[in-house]
């Protein structure tokens, strides 16, 4: 495979949808207003486990403007599917507090909101169990972990190696539940007509929603159309359809009118997914020079009773560092909790907090610089798969990042640097993310009046996909980007994979490129003549992807942090964050930098602020709004920057690109925690790094 030298890929094109977004013209899902629209609002369970005995639908139907109150006894029947998250209002069972038990539909949003508040639901409550503990008797070994990795792995004899290691780190780290909190709440407008079902939906995968929703209503996929040109952030939370999509469709079917439904911010803490909390034990065995002989990484996580999601927290450890003896594992417990799901770099994000914190502890224990320690444990091949790396530039990221950050001459002594009332420290952590590529289709069309239209049911959730695909198409069609009209976000377009796994550019870019190449060939055969009806070509990458040879493909990075910790309050301020990344060819430096620093900003937020607190008594997440679940605000984010090193990797895809949407968050929290240790001498192993964890630690 050869990479294509190209004039527009690699340039900092402004977002092609920028003008729509800054003028308010970009229309997001809830902003569609079909005629005769009705408003739906959901009612959530107020018990964590049990059954709905009765819903007093008749009373609220007497309210002015009410159209329907739907619950399991009067809801339209859905076809049985495996995913119990989607078979809404089909049974009296309550599996977690906040699960949707009824939906009311009214002429106005105000009336529907009022009715939802007044609707009486009677329950038979049962005792609940919502507490994740590593020693929970219900811990089990899932068949596989997300998306399809082996649950456990073992090489050599890690227990013996640990017993004979000169230096051992044995520490347990925890990460709390975290909620995506895209600023656009999950929303759907559902419309039935003679052709079937149309859904204006906030989704990362129009094709995926169509494929998932159609069977629930016993429809062929072509009778469902999902339209989502603009999506207000997803971060994995909109990767697969949640209950609100089905509820909107079901309500619209019941009342015979278009229905719009959005989760409220507070409802999102129960019904639109979250990242599982984790308990992770990491054991590292090394010689006195810091060379690893053993790595053991065990994760304990939760899932819901009605659906399994097994976050792949320790999978990253299988590839990261060389060591002859190694073991990774995942254990889950089914609790009466909401359903966890993908959240930005599922697996790598919590896993690398633990592994990279442990590596810092090992560096301290061995008296070795933490950059040097990582370089010293660089593997030559993928340690567990035994495959060569397609490219691996972790060391270059560490070295170049250290150079630009000013790492040289760092005094490793913790707790000794004062600036005013702050203790100052620096920390480093590695970062990585796998290279995924999924089959997709695309079409390219030469318009009779000039210009080209390229179509693919991809999703631009803010990644810049629409822009980057425009650049790829422009190069293939040998025209300026302004002559390419890129259509995405509609299941009526050629089928595309999900905006997830940082796979978009690789997956959709390949399809777009091949469609454009096919069109160019067709045009060439016609000596460039475009017929009056236009000329179209299409591509499907399934075959091309199957022929990819087995290699270990990952992007790498190094994150450097400088923190100031207030001596009196324990408040941590991240003074500087610098990310160095090696992610193949960067197609648009402007949007790529935004992706990197955006991920790092979310990592900063994870390190210091984010924590969904489970209320053990009532069994739901307690701090369910943005005043209590803190995400980083503008004043929290100071000097955050990223750069990348040139990386040529011909074993990826025709663009030579690796995914960049998720790697920015991986390792950030560890770099910050390691910097906090350097500043204060206090090792915080439980996120977030709250004030009390430093004050209580004796700052």
């Amino acid at each position: 495979m050869t990479t294509v030298a190209a004039p527009y890929a690699g340039t900092a094109l402004d977002r092609v949808d920028g003008p729509e977004k800054v003028t308010g013209r970009a229309r997001y899902a809830y902003e569609n207003l079909p005629a005769d629209l009705a408003y739906a609002v959901v009612v959530q369970a107020t018990v964590s486990r049990g059954e709905v005995r009765a819903v007093d639908a008749d009373s609220v139907l007497q309210l002015p403007g009410m159209i329907a109150a739907i619950w399991h006894e009067n809801a339209p029947r859905l076809a049985p599917v495996e995913d119990a998250e989607l078979t809404v209002l089909q049974s009296p069972r309550v599996a977690y507090r906040g699960q949707v038990v009824a939906i009311v539909v009214a002429e106005t949003l105000e009336s529907a909101t009022e009715a939802a508040r007044l609707l009486r639901v009677d329950y038979r409550a049962e005792p609940h169990d919502v507490e994740l503990r590593a020693d929970h008797p219900g811990m089990y070994r899932p068949d596989h972990v997300n998306p399809n990795y082996a649950t456990d792995s073992e090489l050599g004899d890690p227990d013996t190696a640990l017993a004979f290691a000169s230096v051992v780190v044995d520490a347990t780290y925890t990460t709390p539940a975290q909620h995506h909190n895209p600023i656009e709440p999950h929303a759907t407008v559902a419309l039935w007509d003679a052709d079937g079902l149309t859904l204006y939906d906030a989704t990362q995968s129009a094709s995926g929603v169509r494929a998932t929703i159609a069977p629930l209503f016993a429809l062929p996929p072509e009778s469902v159309r999902v339209i989502s040109p603009y999506v207000g952030g997803g971060f994995g939370g909109k990767g697969a359809p949640h209950a609100q999509v089905v509820l909107a469709a079901l309500a619209a079917k019941q009342v015979g009118r278009p229905v719009k439904l959005a989760a409220t911010r507070r409802q999102m803490f129960a019904v639109t997914g979250y990242r599982t909390p984790t308990v992770q034990r990491v054991r590292l065995g090394a010689d006195e020079d810091g060379r690893l002989s053993a790595i053991v990484h065990e994760a304990f996580e939760q899932t819901a009773t009605i659906k399994e999601f097994a976050e792949q927290t320790t999978v990253v450890t299988r590839m990261m560092y060389a060591a002859p003896h190694r073991r990774t594992s995942h254990r889950l417990v089914r609790l009466d909790v909401p359903i966890p799901t993908w959240m930005r770099a599922p697996g790598e994000t919590p896993g690398m907090f633990a592994l990279e914190s442990a590596m810092d502890e090992l560096a301290v224990a061995c008296g070795i610089d933490p950059v040097e320690l990582r370089v010293r444990n660089e593997p030559t091949i993928d340690p567990e798969r035994g495959l060569p790396f397609s490219s691996r530039n972790l060391v270059a990221c560490l070295r170049e990042g250290a150079e630009r950050f000013g790492w040289a001459g760092r005094d490793p002594e913790p707790g000794v640097r004062r600036r005013g009332r702050q203790l100052i420290g620096t920390g480093v952590a590695s970062s990585t993310y796998p290279v995924y590529r999924l089959p997709s289709q695309a079409s390219a069309r030469a318009e009779p009046g000039g210009g080209f239209t390229v179509r693919i049911a991809a999703a631009d959730i803010g990644t810049g996909a629409r822009t980057v695909l425009t650049q790829i198409a422009a190069d293939a069609l040998r025209v300026p980007p302004a002559q390419v009209r890129m259509e995405v976000g509609d299941s009526a377009l050629p089928r595309a994979s999900v905006a997830g796994g940082s796979s978009g550019t690789a997956s959709w870019g390949t399809a777009v490129l091949r469609a454009c190449e096919a069109l160019m060939a067709a045009l060439h055969r016609r000596s460039g003549d475009v017929p009056p009806g236009g000329l179209e070509a299409s591509a499907d990458t399934a075959e091309e992807l199957r022929s990819q040879r087995p290699l270990s493909r990952h992007a790498y990075g190094a994150q450097f942090a400088e923190v100031g910790v207030d001596l009196d309050t324990g408040e941590v301020r991240v003074l500087r964050l610098l990310g160095a990344f090696a992610a193949g060819r960067i197609i648009n430096p402007k949007t790529a930098r935004s992706q990197f620093i955006g991920g790092m900003t979310m990592g900063l937020s994870m390190a210091l602020l984010e924590e969904s607190v489970m209320d053990l008594e009532f069994g739901d997440y307690l701090n369910r709004d943005l005043a209590q679940y803190h995400v980083a605000a503008c004043a929290d984010v100071r000097d955050v920057d990223a750069f990348w090193i040139e990386e040529e990797d011909p074993e990826l895809n025709p663009m030579g690109s690796k995914g960049i949407g998720e790697i920015g968050i991986v390792g950030t929290a560890a770099a910050i925690a390691n910097a906090v240790y350097h500043a204060t001498g206090i090792r915080v192993r439980d996120l977030p790094i709250r004030l009390d964890r430093l004050i209580g630690g004796g700052i």
């Binding site: 402004d14 977002r15 920028g18 003008p19 729509e20 977004k21 800054v22 003028t23 308010g24 013209r25 970009a26 809830y30 902003e31 207003l33 009612v43 107020t46 009373s59 609220v60 007497q62 309210l63 002015p64 106005t108 949003l109 105000e110 009336s111 939802a116 007044l118 609707l119 009486r120 639901v121 995506h180 895209p182 600023i183 656009e184 603009y230 999506v231 207000g232 952030g233 997803g234 409220t264 911010r265 803010g462 949007t591 930098r593 935004s594 620093i597 955006g598 991920g599 900003t601 979310m602 709004d625 943005l626 005043a627 995400v631 605000a633 503008c634 004043a635 929290d636 984010v637 955050v640």
Partner: protein, 181 residues
């Protein structure tokens, strides 16, 4: 979530009011439910979708619009209270189809990703630059007796009522600084 008490719900017809709403220079006669927020009126009845609903609780800032030139959270503003005020939404920032300098700077600096918080950021930024020019101090203004200076710390402090989950803050600050200085 559940009904209140045992006597069943109270059934009252919504109370409405006929008002004249002035939005982006247009006078719009409208009948509103008195429970209706300005945000819902704009989005659901006037098809002005620029102002966004992120939390409906005044916590995220996505709904920020200008009322008589000052930034307000339209999700915390009942429409009936602004019938004699001049409302400007993101759709009204630019004149004659051109971009407002703040909008152009946001595009140039890539100060957004998904774009959902962007209208609120823009309205907030435009009003904030004016607040600084008018000498209003903030929590980080060192000398509250002198003129405020639009430096990075001031921008970050004053823009912290507008959350951006994509993490575009660094670029937002750069864009505002470019326009404001």
């Amino acid at each position: 979530m559940n009904g209140e008490g045992n006597s069943g719900p109270v059934f009252a017809d919504p109370i409405t009011a006929d008002i004249l709403l002035s939005v982006n220079g247009d006078e719009r006669p409208i009948t509103v439910d008195t429970r209706e927020t300005l945000l819902d009126t704009l989005r659901e009845h006037l098809d002005l979708i620029g102002a966004k609903k992120g939390c409906d609780h005044g916590q995220c800032g996505a709904c920020t619009v200008l009322v008589d030139g000052r930034r307000v959270k339209s999700c915390l503003t009942l429409t009936v209270t602004v019938d004699d005020r001049e409302i400007t939404t993101v759709e009204g920032l630019a004149a004659d189809g051109a971009l407002h300098p703040m909008q152009a700077a946001f595009v140039e600096r890539d100060a957004f990703q998904c774009g959902y918080c962007t209208p609120g950021q823009l309205c907030s930024a435009v009003a904030m630059v004016r607040e600084v020019a008018d000498g209003w101090p903030s929590a980080v203004t060192a000398d509250v007796s002198g003129p405020a200076v639009l430096d990075d710390d001031e921008i970050r402090e004053r823009m912290s009522g507008n959350l951006c989950r994509c993490g575009a803050y660094v670029n937002i600050v750069a864009a505002i600084k470019q326009v404001g200085s």
